[in-house]
Symmetry: C2
Subunit: 109 residues, 2 copies
Amino acid sequence: MNLENTQVQMRKGVLEFCILSIISRGEVYASDMLEELTNAKIMVVEGTLYPLLTRLRKAGLVDYKWVESIAGPPRKYYTLTHIGREFLSGLQGTWNELVSSTNRIANHQ
Amino acid sequence: MNLENTQVQMRKGVLEFCILSIISRGEVYASDMLEELTNAKIMVVEGTLYPLLTRLRKAGLVDYKWVESIAGPPRKYYTLTHIGREFLSGLQGTWNELVSSTNRIANHQ
DNA sequence: AAAGTTACCTTGTAATGCAAAGTAGTTGGT
DNA sequence: ACCAACTACTTTGCATTACAAGGTAACTTT
């Protein structure tokens, strides 16, 4: 049990929230998301992201369309569905509560 | 994939941090922790807490001693070890960074 | 046409949260 | 003295899922 493993653990729970947030701002494909998450120091790898996107699609929270690229293979561009938008709104609340609860415990004297 | 499951997911990552924080404030036993976490709206059940405490002990982050109860069976009272204290301090940093990274993504316009 | 790049997908493993059932010490009513 | 209720800790089995590693395919460059 080292610090790095626990850091990974902590990030797990909010990944879904971050990805839905990114998709909510406009059409993106997987590499866009990877870049933004990496910039925000929330590490994710392909092996995590692709299965998660598949789960989100199966749950009806996101949808995608194939788009030809100017250079390279075609890309899957994702968008939020109506359900996805409602779900994200609920997650925002959950996140805010979690932060407040955790800080209450961590800073309690 | 419902909201409740995702809420559970989110909490997972910070559980270790919360539990170490609680133990850092003084000797407590499992039911004390369950009560405090429940009050803070971070739901945990026995089946999660006990194995986690065992992992923390095996990792040398916490220690415990048996204490006879005035009423009921004896209790395991936990304390942080030196290593546990250092680990908690690192986790505090990880948590702060995660909150800031996530909010940056979630509130980015 | 061969090598490189970009993009998406899959498989196998390990970790772990949780429900549910189990063990054991203590108390209180009859 | 017994037995039900309570408290506390433990264990088992299942489902989920992050990740490393390897794979497929389209397109570009040399």
